[in-house]
Amino acid sequence: MSHPSTGAPAAAETASAPESFFRRALRQKRFVFGLTGTVLVVLFAIVAPFLSPYGEKETAGPPYAKDGLFGTDYIGQDVLSRVMHGGQEVLVISVLATLVGMVVGILIGVVAAYAGGWWDEIIMRLNDVLLAFPQILLSLVVLTALRNPSDWVIILLVAAGHAPRVARVARGVALGIVSRDFVVAAEALGEKRSRVIVAEVLPNMTGPLLAEAGLRLTYSIGIVAALGFLGFAADPGAANWGQMMNENRLGLQTQPWAVLAPVLVIAIFTIATNLMADGLAQASQKGD
């Protein structure tokens, strides 16, 4: 995930540190659970399309029938096959959107905290203006204007929604670190400002930022699924966990599995990633 590098000068020295950090994390039960869950869902999304009994857009029977494990959906496609095909896009889009949003947000927040004074004021007030937009509204406005949005547009829109929120958190965390003596010491040595941020400030922010990343990933999946639900997916006919909820909601009473199956996978994935982020955050805290 978005674990910043320690910016260490020699490769030989860095080799031991991340490994021991990972090992410390493995001693956290919640991390192990989270990691297992995340890996399982990701593996499922990657491997499942090759094993599915029916094709992605193949009709398997009458609509809302009980055929197969989870029955069929509103136009008679096999729900299990749709779930197996529908994961990749959602996962890739939400993970990328989270990463982009985190990186941009952390940059804004840390630079604001480190620069201080007027820069801080200007950056954060502009940030507040962005915060005033409801996250999904921004996406909807742009997506409505575009005729054929590609996946990248969705990724950038979701990331743009995250960035100002991440920036707030990152600035708060960084404020407590930039005033510490080791940052002043680096400045007195004349380190470049960029290096002070990357090597001195960022490594000390991993804990809270990892927790934030877990939260943001959950939101990403929610927003991507919601966009699919509202009909703004790149390919309207393709299987997509979010879109499946939208397509099948009218038959919720006759064929609940068509909605429940994608909801369950999303739930497992978000819980697992949050557990993992929590575990990582705790492990990194114990290093202090």
Binding site: P9, A185, L189
Partner: protein, 601 residues
């Protein structure tokens, strides 16, 4: 039993004191002893000093008297007898009542002991209110009396203040007043003057000692500083690695210290009246579970023989009331305070000025904090900046180091004028002047390894890289007495003294000509301070490094510096060579500082 007699002006009580028998505290789970075999008597009206380095278990003993142990440890054996009642056996409800009422505790950090959102007056009144003592008026009167006893104002304005509106010394005296208000029989003080400057420390100590004697309160004063104990304690117990190493009347401990550890502690303390070559104690206090066989001090002891490694020594009585836990007590000769004395730095030595400050004025926003300060620093010389907190000594050093840029005046380094902020100076100037911070817990990045921290200045200034840099790191670590096994430790795993050594090594890595040391020993144990000063003195002689040494400890100045600037409220009040200023002070302020500093003579 308590009998109360009417004395002159205040109550004088006769209490039975407190008896500690065979006290032991172990870690829950492993059962490893944190402290064991503690026997100690606190007589009424007596102050007993409990002295030891960090990790010796002194705070553990202190809190055990209140039947409290920190999480992860429990009191595993022994008795704490208060008037024939065993505090450790009392039911929980009675222990709660006993705490504060009969045995009071004054914590190390006064600021965290007071509730920041309750006014001082209300906190004092609450003590009686919670116990249902007296009426509203009598409680208020008691609160005022309590404040008067510790020398604080008693008017409504003061009672209405919050803790953050008081100075550090005032907060500590309020904490003392709170401890004395319920008229306890025993008082446990856990380093209550750490972080206070000498004047406030003296005031707090005097107040405490006077109250204890007047009210017949027995006090246990926990500290790492023997110099403080020399001024207030009747008896002294020296602790090492969870046991009492030496116990005796104050005068016996200071005139005839018989345990090698007590001697080593005394060797690390600077004196006001003479310059001493300070010595640290090699190694570090072993943690519970890692204590050596036989005598626990054997691995750091200069007198250790085979018997010390095999046989556990018992506390032996060598003189009336004077007990020592050492096989060789009596064999190792006598200790003389004058052994470590060295001549004062020669005031008439020719000086080759490397750094000079002229007409320095420093501002924080609109506030003018330092006024027209001028002094200079010669090659291979140590100049001390001394003053109480708020005198501007750190502000001056930060301005010279380029960490604070809001100043005017002339700063000349080898004839060249330096810019206000470090960033505006040339890389060469930055390299040649290094700054060492007060708190080693804040000045090292906890996420980097020791090797990364020390080699960074070499890479930054292009002094060495690759394998060459690695060799130099190992070399530097040797110079500051750190083993190469620590190379890949993260800074967070080191003790305070070790961290400060890393900070010094980082400064040395830049091969500086001037080092600015900002109170670099004030966060450390006295024994560690001794070894850091020893290290700096060696560096000064070997490498000819000049140092600007900021401190509030005048005794330390005598041991390390050649010249001194006494600061008060941002102005230099007296300056000159250390010998002249300290032996024949001209200003009242200097005399006051000297008078308030704890001394061992």
């Amino acid at each position: 039993m308590t009998t109360t007699t009417s004395g002159t002006g205040h109550e004088v009580r006769k209490t039975g004191g407190l008896v500690i028998e065979d006290l032991g505290v172990s870690l829950t789970g492993t059962g490893v002893d944190v402290v064991d075999d503690i026997d100690l008597v606190l007589r009424p009206g007596e102050v007993v000093g409990l002295v030891g380095e960090s990790g010796s278990g002194k705070t553990t003993v202190g809190t055990s008297l209140l039947n409290y142990s920190r999480a992860g440890a429990h009191i595993s054996s022994g008795k704490v007898l208060l008037e024939d009642r065993d505090v450790l056996e009392l039911p929980w409800k009675e222990v709660r009542k006993l705490r504060g009422e009969e045995i009071a505790y004054v914590p190390q950090d006064p600021a965290s002991a007071l509730n920041p959102s309750i006014r001082i007056g209300k906190q004092l009144v609450e003590l009686h209110q919670l116990r249902g003592i007296g009426t509203a008026q009598s409680r208020m009167q008691a609160a005022r009396d309590g404040l008067a006893e510790v020398g604080l104002p008693t008017d409504d304005e003061f009672l209405g203040r919050y803790a953050h509106q008081l100075s550090g010394g005032q907060v500590q005296r309020v904490a003392l007043a709170m401890a004395f208000l319920p008229k306890p029989k025993v008082l446990v003080l856990d380093e209550p003057t750490t972080g206070l400057d000498v004047t406030t420390q003296k005031m707090v100590l005097d107040t405490m000692a006077e109250l204890c004697r007047a009210h017949g309160v027995s006090a246990l004063y926990v500290t790492h500083d023997l110099a403080v104990v020399a001024n207030i304690a009747d008896r002294v117990a020296v602790m090492y690695a969870g046991q009492i190493a030496e116990l005796g009347p104050r005068d016996a401990i200071f005139a005839n210290p018989s345990h090698p550890y007590t001697r080593a502690l005394l060797d690390s303390i600077p004196h006001l009246s003479q310059a001493r070559a300070l010595k640290g104690i090699p190694g570090r206090t072993p943690s519970p579970g890692r204590r050596p066989e036989g005598c626990r001090f054997n691995d750091r002891c200069a007198f250790a023989v085979d018997r010390c490694r095999e046989e556990v020594p018992a506390l032996r009585t060598i003189a009336p009331e004077h007990e020592v836990r050492c096989h060789r007590a009596g064999e190792i000769g006598t200790w003389d305070i004058n052994i470590g004395t060295v001549p004062d730095a020669d005031p008439d030595r020719p000086r080759d000025v490397i750094l000079s400050v002229e007409g320095l004025d420093v501002f924080y926003g609109r506030k003018h904090v330092v006024h027209d300060v001028s002094f200079d620093l010669a090659k291979g010389e140590v100049v001390a900046l001394v003053g109480e907190s708020g005198s501007g000594k750190t502000t001056i050093s930060r301005s010279i180091g380029g960490l604070h840029k809001d100043w005017t005046g002339t700063l000349t380094f080898e004839g060249r004028q330096l810019a206000t902020s470090a960033r505006k100076r040339s890389a060469e100037d930055r390299r040649r002047m290094q700054y060492i911070f007060q708190n080693p817990y804040l000045s090292l990045n906890p996420r980097l390894t020791i090797a990364q921290i020390i080699r960074r200045p070499m890479e930054l200034f292009g002094l060495a890289k690759g394998k060459d840099a690695n060799d130099r790191v190992v070399d530097l670590m040797g110079q500051v007495a750190l083993g190469p096994q620590m190379l890949h430790y993260q800074a967070s795993r080191l003790s305070g003294g070790e961290r400060q050594r890393v900070a010094i090594a980082r400064a040395l890595a830049a091969e500086p000509d001037v080092m600015i040391c900002d109170e670099i020993t004030s966060a450390l144990d006295v024994s560690v301070q001794g070894s850091i000063v020893e290290l700096l003195e060696g560096l000064r002689i070997e490498r000819g490094i000049s140092m600007l040494f900021v401190t509030h400890n005048l005794a330390l100045v005598r041991s390390i510096a050649a010249r001194v600037q006494i600061l008060q409220a941002g102005r230099v009040v007296e300056a000159g060579s250390v010998v002249t200023v300290m032996d024949t002070p001209q200003e009242d302020y200097t005399r006051k500082l000297l008078g308030n500093s704890p001394r061992i003579d």
